[in-house]
């Protein structure tokens, strides 16, 4: 059958395959298509269908994941004063033993309390404020380091260097992206730890700065490749026009290319943010994993050296504790609720990015 199709195609009369019609030609001038075999048509439909499923699958996956994560967390809001034990006798006895340990879950406490004591014997508290602050502060500090580096490197690779250097740089930057996060964590634990202690006189090298530097190094490659792509997408006529007006290379980059590639560069930064928020293993190993809000000292005054305090992130908490939380317990459900929270954070980040980009486009 396949050969038939081929011969059919090969024997197509030349009159039926005319020269490409000129741009703007009326559709009525479109020639008749060459006829095809049934298998070819079915095959094409099948491939079309498969591709369609691939496209839609993202929606299915996102909603599926959200559904399953939320389903594990949801009972928190509906169960009333129930200890997570399989049979009623154990529930009662447990409740008698230490009744304050299992109180009704409160969303307000979850979001605004900074006390995270999920396995306390006397007073269980699930407050993730310190963890949210930890995630956001590590990410912000990482971006402070990564954005100038990443975008600078993108501009350099795209505009200022050529030929061999460009190729080498691109390959090496991609290599940087290929380093597994656990290896980054290991570097943080051993190398960065010592450097930070010695250079900054920090009492402990496993701290916010350590995690932020690792996250910055991890998100720079994404920023460079996407930033470079978006700079490359700026039409050459812009460059030519700029140069024709007598702009220097720097003026060209600053006044013409950066504004023209704004959307792509913003997307590059936000993908970097997404990577940093979601990163788990490296921050688990390098940030010191301590539940504190680093901006305040014990007496409540502002701590100017907050970047040298150990912090803990939402992702690292899930990674460290989910394995040992018994299935269906309140602790287990709260960890899933943290998952929902993380999901919401990334959703908001992406949504704002989308809206900002749309806003820019409209103008």
């Amino acid at each position: 059958m396949a050969t038939e199709v081929q011969t059919e195609l090969a024997s197509g009369k030349p009159a039926q395959i005319p020269d490409r019609p000129e741009r703007g030609a009326a559709p009525s001038g479109k020639p008749k298509r060459a006829s095809r075999g049934l298998t070819a048509i079915i095959g094409e439909k099948l491939i079309e269908f498969i591709i369609r499923v691939c496209g839609i699958s993202a929606i299915i996956f996102v909603f599926g994941i959200f559904f399953f994560v939320f389903r594990e967390a949801a009972p928190l809001f509906f169960e009333k004063h129930k200890a997570p034990a399989p049979d009623a006798a154990a529930v009662e006895r447990h409740a008698d033993d230490h009744s304050p340990a299992h109180k009704q879950f409160s969303l307000k406490e979850f979001l605004f309390s900074k006390e995270w004591y999920p396995t306390s014997q006397s007073n269980v508290r699930y407050g993730v404020r310190a963890l949210i602050v930890g995630t956001l502060s590590v990410t912000a500090l990482a971006m402070l380091i990564a954005v100038p580096f990443g975008l600078g490197a993108a501009v350099f690779v795209s505009e200022f260097c050529g030929g061999k250097l460009k190729e080498t740089l691109k390959i090496i930057i991609e290599l940087l992206a290929a380093i597994p996060s656990v290896v980054w964590g290991f570097i943080g634990l051993t190398v960065m730890n010592q450097i930070i202690q010695n250079v900054f006189n920090a009492p402990i090298g496993l701290n916010m700065l350590n995690g932020a530097i690792l996250l910055a190094l991890m998100s720079v490659p994404i920023m460079v490749s996407i930033g470079e792509d978006s700079l490359k997408a700026v039409p050459d006529s812009y460059r030519e026009a700029g140069l024709a007006l007598g702009a220097t290379k720097w003026q060209l980059v600053y006044r013409v290319l950066l504004p023209a590639a704004k959307n792509g560069l913003l997307a590059a930064v936000l993908l970097g943010v997404g990577r940093a928020v979601g990163e788990t293993m490296a921050v688990l190993m390098a940030t010191g994993h301590a539940v504190t809000i680093p901006f305040f000292k014990t007496d409540g005054s502002f701590n100017p050296w907050f970047m040298f305090e150990p912090v803990r992130t939402l992702t690292a908490t899930i990674a460290a504790e989910l394995g040992e939380a018994s299935e269906g317990s309140q602790h287990y459900r709260v960890l899933f609720l943290i998952g929902v929270l993380l999901f919401s954070i990334t959703f908001v980040v992406n949504l704002t990015a989308d809206m900002v980009i749309r806003g820019i486009k409209k103008r």
Binding site: K114, Q197, P203, G205, T298, P310, E324
Partner: protein, 306 residues
């Protein structure tokens, strides 16, 4: 042609690798059910305490020489993981550095129909570690509680009378602790902080006994707790006194067995019910002189001789 080759070679290699990796795994799991295979080993899943994982590994390796028909597979992770696996039925033996809680016994009973069996297999002296440069030589449980508990007043080394630790940055005490499901964490909370108390927020919570010691070795400001078996030359074990003014005791085999060292604890192995013969044999061997010698060699404290 060239591109085709570059794609096919890694593909073929990946498939070969996958086959190589899955093959022994398959044969093992199929034998685990039958248990009668004479040539290949019956596998025993031994999951739990991170404190005990070195010891359990040493036992497993040594026992394989004694009885090649049994292969014990040791997985660490923490007492909580071991107990969860015991309840879920995925562990043949659960290691725990704390006793089962009543609620956990209930859960296991509900799942398996009978109470889990407990085997005491040795002791661990929970040791207090500081950096090797730290001049501190002893500490009382009260001082430890002030450092670690919620609301405790001690945050600076000078409050303990320690000045100028060589290499230290500033005066802050860096508290190294464990993740909140660890058996060691629970034990420390119970005996040092008090069952009703909680840890002071802001401690560096690490996921393994070894991590604690390694972090202290790199951090002159740090103090932390871990198993005696994890001691290295980079860190210093300090003596512990039960109360301020009482004599401080060095953790050792003698002080643990005569109960003068205040924070020693037994180590347990649990089985879901009465163990099958090959596991019973393994547990008997662990309690025997040969098994207990390994306890001593790996830095833990063997059971007293009968």
């Amino acid at each position: 042609m060239k591109t085709k080759l570059t794609i096919t070679i890694p593909c073929v290699m990946a498939i070969l690798l996958a086959i190589c990796l899955t093959q022994p795994g398959c044969s093992k799991s199929s034998n685990a059910g039958g248990g009668s295979g004479s040539a290949s080993a019956t596998s025993v899943q031994n999951i739990g305490s991170d404190t005990m994982v070195n010891l359990a590994q040493a036992w497993a390796e040594e026992y394989h020489k004694v009885d090649p028909s049994v292969s014990v597979e040791v997985v660490g992770g923490g007492s909580g993981i071991g107990i969860a696996a015991l309840i879920n039925g995925t562990a043949d033996i659960a290691n725990s550095s704390r006793k089962l809680e009543a609620a956990e016994v209930e859960k296991a009973k509900a799942k398996h129909g009978h109470d889990p069996r407990e085997f005491m297999v040795g002791y661990d002296a929970l040791s207090i570690f500081v950096h090797k440069n730290n001049p501190l030589t002893e500490i009382s449980l009260d001082d430890l509680a002030e450092i670690y508990k919620e609301g405790g007043a001690t945050t600076k080394w000078s409050q303990l009378g320690v000045q100028n630790i060589p290499g230290a940055q500033g005066d802050d005490i860096v508290r190294v602790s464990r993740q909140n499901n660890s058996g060691t964490y629970h034990y420390f909370r119970e005996v040092v902080i008090g069952k009703k108390g909680d840890f002071k927020a802001g401690s560096v919570d690490l996921n393994g006994s070894k991590d604690v010691v390694e972090t202290i070795a790199r951090t002159p400001n740090a103090i932390g707790y871990s198993g005696l078996g994890y001691a290295t030359p980079e860190v210093k074990i300090i003596k512990v006194a039960k109360k301020k003014g009482e004599p401080a005791i060095q953790p050792s085999i003698e002080t643990t067995l005569n109960k003068t060292y205040p924070i020693a604890r037994p180590m347990f192995m649990y089985t879901p019910g009465n163990p099958p013969p090959h596991i019973q044999k393994y547990l008997d061997w662990i309690i025997s002189d040969t098994g207990q010698k390994i306890v001593k060699d790996t830095g833990y404290i063997p059971l007293p001789k009968k």
